[in-house]
């Protein structure tokens, strides 16, 4: 495996409703990441992006994004209809596959303000048997939360602790959206959105974007970059979608991806977990066997800011940032997709 490192990232503050268009958001984060990397815009060997057309109800959102990134002369470019974390995986593999390629930029964008996201996500389900019933994404997550409570290992208080802790940590993240000092009692007395999920256990609706730059060892040396976050393990796995055929109280795909990426949960300094719903963090902590010394979601995680199609790559940006700033030697970024943690990705990074 070739040595590839995250050397720069950029994001814009998540907001309930951004005044920026998708194109303007992309322009800001791509320009920001390129400037931080010190690489000339025309020197990028590969560009890859992640977004989802159904959010804004029009096809080809990524086509307009090309206007924002300066794709002239023509660029080597691809797009996944997924969270940007998977675009990063594609870019990382592209650099693995061709020793002649040395740097890539990955970006993603998503606006939850353009439509009713929980209902739109119902169109991810089986189109013949499930979508016609329009089970919204919060109700699907609530089925998982209920299964977790029924399993007896956790109580609602555990959900509340996760939510309160993430919002508290998010206070130090200038890009977070929903932060503050809430009490456990406050969280546990909030209104139900879909029982047993109360308002505090659900993520905010966010508009946002981020971009990330990866480079080969040769490029890192050439740039003289001081604190690269070397990607030491990278894997993603999917499960069957139907809620009836898998154990909703565990995450087999996270566990497998974590093992294949060499996560070793007790050796991490920081783990950024993409858990949009509070109970999902509990499932992910178990799947990755995180030790007590691991700092989980110092950014506040998806409970503090959840730009759709972005929140996964944001976790990797935040984990890499901890290494760039010298706050962590070994950090993990996780992304999820699909109903009730169906698909999961793990990226393990280390300092020099």
């Amino acid at each position: 495996m070739r040595d590839i490192a995250v050397i720069a990232s950029a994001q814009i503050p998540s907001e309930r409703r951004s005044d920026l268009s998708e194109i303007e958001m992309v322009q800001k984060v791509v320009t920001g990441a390129i400037e931080k990397s010190g690489i000339d815009r025309r020197a990028f060997d590969f560009w890859c992006s992640g977004s989802a057309d159904m959010l804004c109800g029009r096809p080809f959102s990524f086509v307009s994004a090309l206007d924002a990134i300066g794709a002239w002369p023509p660029i080597r470019e691809s797009h996944v209809e997924m969270d940007g974390a998977w675009a990063l995986y594609e870019a990382w593999l592209k650099l693995q596959s061709d020793p002649g390629l040395h740097c890539a930029i990955v970006y993603c964008f998503g606006q939850s303000s353009l439509g009713p996201v929980p209902d739109i996500l119902a169109t991810q389900l089986d189109p013949y048997y499930e979508t016609p019933l329009w089970p919204d994404s919060i109700s699907v997550a609530a089925i998982q939360a209920r299964a977790l409570l029924d399993g007896g290992r956790y109580t609602e208080r555990d959900f509340a602790e996760v939510a309160v802790e993430n919002r508290r940590r998010g206070k130090s993240n200038p890009n977070a959206q929903l932060t503050g000092d809430f009490s456990i009692e406050e969280a546990m007395s909030g209104p139900y959105i879909s029982s047993p999920l109360r308002k505090h256990y659900c993520p905010p609706l966010s508009d946002g974007a981020c971009a990330i730059v990866i480079a080969s060892r040769e490029k890192v040396d050439e740039l003289g970059f001081a604190a690269p976050a070397w990607i030491r393990g990278f894997d993603h796995r999917v499960e069957a979608q139907s809620l009836g055929v898998r154990d909703l109280t565990s995450s087999a795909s996270t566990q497998l991806a974590g093992r294949r990426a060499g996560a070793r949960g007790d050796s991490l300094d920081v783990a950024e977990l993409h858990a949009p719903f509070a109970h999902q963090e509990l499932i992910l902590r178990e799947a990755l066997e995180l030790g007590g010394s691991v700092s989980v979601n110092p950014s506040g995680g998806a409970l503090a800011a959840n730009p759709i199609m972005v929140a996964g790559l944001l976790r990797i940006c935040e984990a890499a940032g901890a290494i760039h700033r010298g706050e962590a030697k070994r950090a993990l970024g996780h992304a999820t997709s699909g109903p009730a943690l169906q698909q999961n990705l793990v990226c393990v990074m280390e300092a020099n």
Partner: protein
């Protein structure tokens, strides 16, 4: 490349306007099983699945790879979903090839599909964009002015489009998987068909199809152990450029030209006109055959239409183009690019049946999308790249 990649299995559905006999998972499994059977393996041998399809608006299913994961045998494996507009079938195969070329995967299954009978492409392609002029003309209306510009610049005579349409439909009669089998096709019949978008007639346009293509790709060491014929991937390439800006050449886009040049260089091809034996090119409207021949440097500038006119792009000609019948005979949008790639692989494997080009050793697969702005290509050969 860190690792060589070979195509060891090819499968496609019987394409049709309405495949009402199968669901979407059923359609994909028809192609997948054919590809796996061709490769002599099962889902259990596959390490990753790469899926491509055009906008989610078409079928109204958001990120369909999620609900398709178990139907495609992907449970416990990586699944990735590519979407690069009309070029997606090609770029999906390119991404799948990079999984193999990275050295991290032994065998990858890649598929691309569209089930147009369960979707509404015209509706999905005609939304109102804020701050942009509406393009409510559909794809044909978008591309017709580019064709007129080509005719004017090249001096091509009016009948070239009809000739391409006739030729590809004759080719399709040799392809049992093709959607359109127009037994009584003739130049006169094409000419007599209704004019849709001047100069594009009804029979010069692609159909609307249900269909899926699937490929099994393998790492060199694994492919070497495989007994069947292989198509070795000599090179893959992609290029994109913005849709609209002053001075952009939309007829012969620089992205397409750059992509082809880089592709040939990577493949070690110095004279594409002489070294490529067969080309499967994305031609959704007849006139795009001569246009892409020029953009792909498969003829001299301005000469594309002469190749078509002199019967050089059919069996026995200098460069048979779309022996499968092409997009003009089969168009499940998201799959159309991968069908080009798959047909090229079949040709160099000597497995193209009645549509086999004699002695084909090197094939070009090509796809494009958006406003002629996204390009994906690959070169496959009977032998390993030298």
């Amino acid at each position: 490349m860190a690792e060589l990649c070979a195509v060891i299995g090819v499968g496609q559905t019987k394409h049709a306007a309405i495949r009402g006999d199968v669901s979407i998972p059923g359609l994909l499994r028809e192609a997948a099983f054919r590809a796996l059977e061709d490769a002599g393996i099962t889902f259990a041998d596959i390490d990753a699945v790469i899926l491509g399809t055009a906008p989610d608006q078409f079928e109204g299913i958001m990120m369909p790879e999620l609900f398709l994961a178990d139907a495609l045998g992907a449970v416990g494996k990586p699944i990735l979903r590519v979407h690069t507009a009309g070029s997606v079938g090609g770029s999906t195969a390119n991404v799948a090839a990079s999984y193999i070329e990275s050295g991290l995967y032994d065998r990858v299954l890649t598929l691309a599909f569209e089930k147009q009978s369960e979707s509404n492409a015209m509706w999905a392609l005609s939304p109102k964009y804020p701050f942009q002029p509406p393009i409510t003309s559909g794809a044909g209306g978008y591309f017709a002015p580019l064709i007129r510009a080509y005719m004017r610049a090249s001096g091509a005579p009016d009948h070239i489009g009809c000739k391409v349409a006739y030729k590809d439909r004759v080719h399709a009669l040799k392809n049992p998987y093709a959607h359109l089998h127009i037994e009584d096709i003739s130049i006169e019949k094409v000419k007599a068909s209704p004019m849709l978008w001047e100069p594009v007639r009804y029979l010069e346009s692609c159909p609307s199809s249900d269909g899926c293509a699937a490929l099994v790709l393998a790492r060199e060491e694994v492919a070497d152990r495989h007994s069947g014929p292989k198509a070795w991937v000599w090179a893959t390439e992609m290029r994109s450029e913005p849709m609209q800006f002053a001075g952009r050449n939309q007829v012969l886009p620089q992205a397409g030209s750059d992509c082809a040049k880089s592709l040939y260089k990577k493949a070690g091809i110095t004279n594409p006109q002489a070294e490529i034996d067969v080309a499967e090119i994305y031609v959704p409207f007849s006139w795009f055959e001569p246009m892409w021949l020029e953009n792909l440097h498969l003829c001299e500038p301005g000469e594309g239409w002469k190749l078509t006119d002199n019967d050089e792009t059919t069996f026995g000609g200098r460069l048979p183009v779309n022996p499968s019948g092409g997009v003009l005979s089969t168009n499940p949008i998201g799959a159309s690019g991968m069908i080009r790639y798959a047909e090229g692989a079949l040709q160099v494997r000597g497995m193209a049946g009645d549509r086999q080009v004699d002695g084909a050793k090197v094939a070009l697969g090509h796809a494009y999308g958006g406003g002629s702005q996204f390009f994906s290509m690959w070169i496959v050969g009977s032998d390993k790249p030298s």
